[in-house]
Amino acid sequence: MPIEWWQNKVIPYADTDEEPAELEELEIELLLEAIRRRSGFDFHNYLHSSLRRRIRNRMTQDKLPTVTSLLNRVLHEEGFLDKLLEDFSIKVTEMFRDPEFFLSFRKHVAPILREKKELRIWHAGCATGEEVYSMAILLQEEGLLERSTIYATDMSKDAIAMAKKGRFPLKRMQAYTKNYLQAGGTREFSAYYDTDHSYAYFHDQIKKQMMFARHNLATDGSINEFHVILCRNVLIYFNPELQNRVHGILTDSLAKGGFLALGSKESFISSHKSQFIEFMPDERIFRKLPVED
């Protein structure tokens, strides 16, 4: 390797119009501050690139010329802040998302969990709850649901409300069925829900061990000690600093030998990683040390 790499190793970020970007950055800072003061939600440590896109998206939709005009509406228009907050909360999820994760969980993690008399599972950032119901179905089929309590939290009020309902649009259900089958489902997926013309409603049987609550990973702390924490595709919106903080919270919230599941594309590069072993590296399942077996 030539010496040159010592220099010039930082590839400069190509931003064509620097000044407007700077200005926009300032506006976004102000907007985030306003949101924090008004709603208590702190987005400062979210990935600004992501926030910027969502803000721009909102601006395009509402035909707003500047972030400041958006800020104006946030401050003076009732309900607009909530709308923006919902924009910020990305609720992309599906049932048995990444089926191989659930399959792996079923094959390798469930047998270990079977040793436990009582299970506490935390879905941190559960969005509209698809994964919570998936996990409940998995646990039910593995005979673990009765002894489990599934805590599902999200920062979005609407998401939590949706998740509580346990109904999912019919037009996604075919994909969910495929996922369920790929995730090693042992029964009939259709046995878990009723339908009307638009939605599938999951049975109370599945819902009974769930507890939904609002929780903001960016500002709130640990809520209990869990045996399994799923925080999939949540941290990708956070900057490394916040990711590290959340990793800390998740680590503190895990029992010894507990499992932490991250999203399939997520990294776990933080100071807390030394407390874990890579249990199933491909599925991003980590296990907290020390493992007492």
Binding site: S50, V92, A175, E188, D196, Y199, I236, I269
Partner: protein, 927 residues
């Protein structure tokens, strides 16, 4: 090495040889000497012997000469003869003396010699001279006389004897001497041998000593070398040599070599240690600090610092990365420009600095460790590919040794590579992190996009549906137009006929009511007459029969009224007559009607009116009464004991808002009819409002009734913009509450309007086709939503109507049941009784929206059929739902493998099947 006496091998050998040569010389000298003396002796001996023999012979000769000469003279008297006499007389004395000199020392011979002398002299004196004289005197007689006696001859004889004896003696002496010589010779030979042996022995000894002193040391050296080679790299052994010679030199040289090797080995070992430690380090800071803590003790340094070269803004600086026994945060974070201070200079020149008296430089050297009074400061650059990429500084209380320097020099190369590797790894890690971050961001972006695209898709979906519709319509427009033209004519005919049939129905109903009422009237009147038994002509039994006829007739009449009401409602022909109704009058009105019933059944009829109820409400009084009467009669019908209560109160605004969202919740009156009757199970509570429904079949038999009452009530309530809510517990009683807006007009102007509008449009669509179809349409919209359908009353989302389902099933009973259920939901069902038939049907017409596939079938089973269907070009994506035997996991898996979309196990739960079908008939949004 002390300047001691040095005995080199050469010297030793020389001394040895010299000694031997000396010994030899001495021996030779000795022997030569001995031989010379022997020879001398022999020579002397021989000369004397000859002299003596000569002398003896000469003396004998002389004596003889003298006698001869005397005799000659005597005979002749010639003086000439006397000459030899005279010479011998002169000579013998000298000769005698010489002989005496030779053998005078021997006493035995002395005597003889004296005797010889005397004899000779006697001869001369007695014989020689006198005779001679006598001759001269011519005394011949005397002479003869003399010779008569002849003493001389005795003398001569004696002399001869003497001389002979002397000679013999002399010979004996010689013999003895020779013998002695022989002995001495033998002794000399023996001595010579001894000497040779001794010299040989001495020489051998010397050789031994010398060789020993050489060989011993060599052996020692060899042994040590052997030991070292055997010990495999243990270089700690040293050769010790007592001697002070070349071997010692060799040993010393060897020891120096070993020292060097050991030093080199140490260096290599340490280098290897450091290199191993460096291996796999992926953090520069960690590398630097572990390097320092590893190497500093090796070079006995008490301080160490590690500077790494970093460039920022085109300028290179050496930043302190780690320290060993550092000074603390501030000083440990120093950095130097290139060329600044020793550190900078070191990096710039790529040369090491070793300062052995740093205190002398303290003022001028800007060193990270200058405050420390170290004996020695060492600054070493670390190079990689010809560039100084780091600088290491060590300070020690002791001077650095060559070994230390060698070590550092050796480590430097490795370190350069290690730093480069670590930096490379860090870079890779950083890039990895960056790419990870990018991946995550990408994921985030993807999800955002997904969220957006979902929204878009939803909109698109709607648009697409619309577009599809439009397209379809366009596509079929022409066809339709043509068809429409035909249809129009047909429709006109149908419309005519429908008009007629509607008319027929209305007429029929009117006629029916009329026709039924007429005879019923007669029956009622007559039966009443009969049981009144005015003239007492009937027995009490007969009276009872008549009463039964009457009450049955009454029931029939109510039924007919109900049917009429219902058909009127359905036909939209119920007109509402708005009026002001005095609520306070209602209890009395009801009492009037139901007190007798209460009395008859032995049930308490109570009424209750709360004061905050508005007195006057604006609604259709008659319909209101009808509802209340219906509810009350129901209550009485199902209550055998206890009470029936009519309670009029103001509705709880929350409940009211929920029930009648369009009305002002503050202005709702509630009429509750509470009974203590048989109650209604929870799952039937919705059902009872449907036409012809009662809780169960038995109810009908026990309590009678058609089950139309509640249905009508609820329809009326709806017409009056109110609603009926039931709350009941089985065996405990029921409570029916009628919520009515106080003001009918204000309540739901908008609803009214929209209803009218839709009615109007419907009228436009189906011109002149009222009654039946209208009734149907109204009924559909008026139908209370099913439990699951409450969220979307919008029927356009109902995926079932018109969808074509192919049922592949061989069991006729199942086929019948499933067809019944599916057709009820508006699905078109085609049936194939086995796989073969299924394939034939699909080949003929593949426009199926969903296939229900039994697995256990004759001829061609479900798996095979499914596979065959999946191979069919038009059937690749058609949902196939497998109907499997229960709890056969292997079956399920085989189904999926064969290509089924989902499965459901037998016996089939219809609701689950419908759920499943809804899922698979709903158009999906793509992810």
């Amino acid at each position: 090495m002390p300047k001691a006496f040095r005995a080199g091998i050469r010297l030793k050998i020389a001394i040895g040889y010299l000694l031997i040569i000396c010994c030899m010389g001495a021996a030779i000298l000795l022997v030569t000497n001995r031989i010379a003396s022997l020879q001398n002796e022999i020579e002397t001996m021989t000369a004397r012997d000859m002299e003596i023999t000569n002398l003896i012979t000469t003396i004998r000769y002389n004596v003889i000469n003298m006698e001869t000469s005397q005799r000659g003279f005597l005979i002749t008297g010639n003086e000439d003869y006397l000459e030899p006499y005279k010479t011998s007389i002169m000579e013998w004395e000298g000769q005698f003396k010489a002989l005496q000199r030779f053998i005078g020392d021997s006493p035995s011979k002395q005597g003889e010699l004296e005797e010889i002398k005397t004899t000779i002299e006697r001869w001369i004196s007695t014989t020689g001279e006198p005779t001679i004289e006598m001759r001269r005197n011519n005394q011949t007689d005397a002479i003869i006389q003399f010779f008569q006696d002849d003493p001389g001859k005795r003398d001569i004889e004696q002399l001869r004897g003497l001389l002979e004896s002397l000679r013999v003696k002399h010979l004996a002496d010689n013999e003895a001497y020779l013998n002695d010589l022989d002995v001495r010779n033998t002794a000399l030979t023996t001595g010579l041998y001894i000497l040779v042996t001794a010299v040989a022995a001495v020489a051998l000894l010397i050789v031994l000593l010398v060789s020993n002193s050489i060989v011993q040391t060599i052996k020692q050296v060899v042994a040590v070398i052997g030991e070292i080679s055997r010990a495999k790299g243990d270089l700690s052994k040293r050769i010790t040599v007592q001697s002070n010679d070349e071997i010692r030199d060799l040993a010393n040289a060897m020891n120096i070599l070993l020292d060097n090797l050991e030093a080199k080995g140490w260096v290599q070992e340490k280098v290897a240690e450091v290199a191993t430690m460096n291996q796999g380090m992926d953090d520069l800071g960690k590398l630097a600090s572990s390097f320092l803590s590893k190497v500093a003790p090796m070079v006995s340094a008490s301080h160490g610092a590690f500077y790494i070269r970093r460039s920022s803004g085109g300028r290179d600086r050496l930043e302190q990365l780690a320290s060993y026994v550092g000074f603390g945060e501030e000083q440990d974070n120093r950095s130097f420009k290139l060329g600044e201070g020793l550190i900078g200079q070191c990096a710039q020149d790529k040369r090491a600095f070793l300062l052995n008296q740093p205190e002398d430089y303290e003022a001028s050297i800007q060193s990270g460790l200058a405050e420390f009074r170290a004996k020695s400061v060492l600054v070493v650059p670390v190079e990689f590919q010809g560039h100084a990429i780091a600088v290491i500084e060590f300070a020690s209380l002791e001077p650095f040794t060559t070994q230390h320097l060698q070590l550092l020099e050796a480590i430097e190369d490795h370190l350069g590579v290690a730093i480069d590797n670590a930096a490379g790894r860090m870079e890779v890690e950083r890039l990895l992190g960056e790419s990870q971050a990018l991946t995550e961001e990408l994921q985030a972006q993807t999800e955002e996009l997904q969220a957006q695209s979902e929204e878009l898709q939803m909109q698109q979906e709607e648009m697409r549906i619309t577009t599809e519709h439009l397209e379809e319509q366009n596509l079929f427009a022409e066809q339709k137009t043509k068809e429409l033209e035909y249809a129009k004519a047909e429709l006109e005919q149908y419309a005519e006929r429908l008009k007629q049939s509607a008319q027929y129905k209305t007429n029929f109903l009117a006629n029916m009511s009329h026709e039924l009422r007429t005879p019923l009237n007669s029956i009622l009147i007559l039966s009443q007459l009969l049981y009144e038994n005015g003239n007492g002509s009937l027995t009490s039994e007969e009276e009872g029969y008549a009463r039964v006829i009457h009450s049955s007739g009454n029931d029939l009449l109510t039924l007919i009224d109900d049917i009429l009401d219902l058909s009127k409602i359905e036909a939209g022909k119920v007109s509402i007559v708005l009026d002001e109704v005095n609520v306070t009058e209602i209890p009395d009105l009801m009492k009037l009607s139901f007190d007798p019933v209460a009395e008859k059944k032995g049930v308490l009829f109570q009424h209750e009116m709360q004061p905050d109820v508005p007195q006057i409400i604006r609604t259709d009084g008659q319909r209101l009464q009808q509802i209340l009467k219906n509810l009350l009669s129901n209550a009485f019908k199902f209550t055998d004991s206890g009470s029936v209560t009519l309670k009029i109160h103001k509705a709880d605004p929350i409940v009211a808002k929920h029930r009648l969202p369009n009305a002002d919740p503050e202005r709702i009156v509630a009429f509750s009819i509470i009974d203590t009757g048989i109650g209604i199970p929870k799952d039937k509570q919705e059902l009872i409002f449907e036409a012809f429904q009662q809780v169960d079949g038995n109810t009908n038999r026990i309590y009678g009734g058609t089950g139309l009452g509640l249905s009508i009530c609820s329809e009326f309530a709806r017409l009056l913009h109110g609603c009926i809510v039931v709350d009941s517990e089985l065996h405990k009683g029921s409570s029916f509450t009628l919520y009515m807006p106080v003001d009918y007009d204000a309540a739901v102007m908008e609803v009214e309007q929209s209803v009218q509008e839709s009615a109007a449009s419907r009228d436009n669509l189906h011109t002149g086709v009222p009654a039946a179809s209208d009734a149907l349409a109204l009924r559909e919209t008026a139908q209370p939503p099913l439990a699951g359908e409450s969220e979307s009353g919008d029927s356009k989302h109902n995926p079932f109507p018109g969808k074509r389902v192919l049922l592949v099933e061989d069991d006729a009973r199942n086929v019948f049941a499933i067809i019944q259920a599916l057709e009820q939901r508006g699905l078109e069902v085609a049936v194939a009784s086995n796989g073969k038939e299924c394939m034939e049907m699909v080949d003929a017409d593949s426009r199926f929206d969903l296939i229900l596939m039994d697995i256990m079938m004759p001829i061609m089973d479900g798996f095979e059929t499914t596979r065959a269907l999946r191979r069919h070009p038009l059937m690749k994506n058609t949902p196939i739902i497998a109907l499997t035997a229960k709890a056969m996991r292997s079956d399920m898996e085989s189904c999926l493998e064969a290509g089924a979309s989902d499965y459901i196990s037998k016996p089939i739960q219809m609701e689950q099947l419908f759920s499943l079908m809804r899922v698979w008939l709903t158009k999906q949004v793509d992810q």
